[in-house]
């Protein structure tokens, strides 16, 4: 009796899981399958081909957009990581009330609708006489990336024993050296995941880029948008597939990065487990 009931429960559980997976990933799977289909039809499988991928790589507009996207994502993530980490350190050493206030202010850009952020950035750029282009996209991306970095560095800072920094100074290290030798290694997983998160967010962004890019420059997302208005070409499926896979890989790396500790720590943990 009991085993039958258990088996039924298990089956229902699995069914539910599969259903959710289908809802989540069926559209993306469709896109990926179509990107390999040797037919322009969206309903018929025309045999396997890499034609659309080839076409994509030959297109100079797509390649230029890809280059822009990667440069902007990398540069904005890097600058946001530096600013965000410094900000997190400063906020962490504040007194409770200002800390809460600043953290609240920091969170607003993340909660704010992208379209509002995009339009306000665009208006600000125009009001200050900055012509829209590569630089404005970069500035915009740095702006919306900083909170993500702060949020991923903050928990690591809170875990760090404050006297570790004092101990390093006590042993003769000047403040900067003390920070980089003992505090930074402790918060490094947070900094790395902050960087990857910022990179992904930048790669992903359409709305804010759309409002701040000006004419004559495209990132992948804005390019796809403008292409789609002219009718979808299968090479766009290929491009979307590549973007999806890239973001997926980055997310997996981001999620696993904090758990990858240094080798000797892992040995310690294993030894502890063995002893118990």
């Amino acid at each position: 009796m009991k085993t039958t009931k258990d088996r039924l429960k298990k089956t229902v559980e699995n069914f539910y899981l599969v259903l959710i997976m289908i809802f989540l990933y069926a559209p993306i799977a469709t896109l990926m399958v179509l990107s390999f289909s040797n037919s322009k039809s969206r309903t018929q499988w025309g045999g396997f081909t890499l034609r659309w991928y080839g076409e994509m790589f030959e297109s100079s507009t797509i390649m230029a957009a890809l280059q822009n996207t990667l440069i902007i994502a990398f540069t904005s993530a890097l600058i946001a990581t530096v600013i965000g980490t410094a900000a997190a350190i400063a906020i962490n050493s504040m007194k409770p009330l200002p800390k809460t206030v600043i953290m609240g202010i920091t969170n607003i850009p993340m909660l704010n609708a992208d379209i509002v952020t995009g339009i306000s950035l665009m208006l600000a750029f125009i009001a200050f006489g900055i012509s829209l282009g590569f630089e404005t996209i970069l500035i915009a991306h740095i702006t919306f990336n900083i909170p993500y970095v702060i949020l991923s560095v903050m928990p690591k800072l809170k875990q760090t024993n404050k006297s570790v920094y004092e101990a390093a100074m006590d042993l003769g290290a000047p403040p900067i050296q003390a920070f980089f030798k003992v505090v930074f290694p402790d918060i490094l997983p947070g900094v790395l995941s902050g960087f990857l998160l910022a990179f992904t967010m930048s790669l992903d962004d359409f709305i804010i880029t759309h409002f701040t890019k000006g004419a004559g420059i495209n990132t992948l997302s804005t390019l796809i948008y403008s292409e789609v208005r002219r009718g979808i070409k299968p090479s766009m499926y290929a491009l979307s597939t590549i973007i999806f896979v890239t973001v997926l890989i980055l997310l997996i790396v981001t999620n696993f990065a904090p758990h990858r500790k240094l080798p000797h720590l892992r040995h310690g943990a294993l030894r502890n487990e063995g002893g118990q």
């Binding site: 390093a168 100074m169 000797h264 720590l265 040995h267």
Partner: protein, 357 residues
Amino acid sequence: MSSLIDLVNVSKSFDGTLVLDDLNLSVKENTFVTLLGPSGCGKTTTLRIIGGFERADKGKVIFDGQDISSLPPNKRQLNTVFQKYALFTHMNIAENIAFGLKIKNKPKAYIQDKIRYALKLVNLDGYESRSVDSLSGGQQQRIAIARAIVNEPRVLLLDEPLGALDLKLRQDMQYELIRLKNELGITFIYVTHDQEEALTMSDTIVVMNQGYIQQTGTPEQIYNEPENAFVADFIGESNILHGTMIRDELVEIFGARFACVDKGFGTNMPVDVVIRPEDIDLVSPDEGILKGVCTHLIFKGVHYEMEVTTPDGFEWLVHSTDMCPVGKEVGIRVDPFDIQIMNKPASEDEEAVGLNE
């Protein structure tokens, strides 16, 4: 022996709260000095000012004749053992110990020798490549001490280093610290709220309360001759009574006159009297100076703890190896040299004078 560290008129406040008020402290070379007091008394702040982690609002820190008040911690010739060990978890034990030496660019062979020497000193030979996480609390604390002493500081600051350890380990570490201090021949400044720890290890105890030094002295002086009621109460258990100094060497408590050895308090002056529970002799009622009834009895192992209530309602705490059953009438006797007379604190003094008039 000249003093190695002098704190001169040091004041410090945090957010408008005065933590240290015009503190003067002098630490002699090669002594074990303990700053003892309840939490919030300013002992840790004093240590942090010496270590350079806090800057005094007023006053000076003199180290070996030099004013080091504005020197950052990394430029001071002293090292600190922190309360929560503060080991670097991303480094192994050898790297932790080598940290200070590497920063000073010492040669590799010298560093290797020092690591081996320090580990031997704290009885953890062969732990070089272990990770911090794999050590127990007591072992981590030994590594923290090793990491500090390889730098050959002239002063070692210890901020409640045994606070996180269990009782047995704490007692072992107390002996270990005394041994280390004797072997190294350096000055230890130790912060604790544990009076037993202070009495066991120190050459000099500095009792602090509310930002003021209450008394400085050897453990014997602090225990046997407390200068005020706070010190008497904080160090060990004691009976603190209101008394009147009739004349030199005679004090009146609850109407009974006790012979004592203190002089110079004037005549008919209100004073605080301290009598340690183990110094009270329980005798038959007619032999005692005061009569009372035993109202409480607890067996503590080494001795019995009793409370004897005298007719005025005061409960005398008595420690004795002889038992006195509850309800029995007894006499209280105290030897003259076991009575400690103290001036009443200024404010209470005025109150007492007012009541007398």
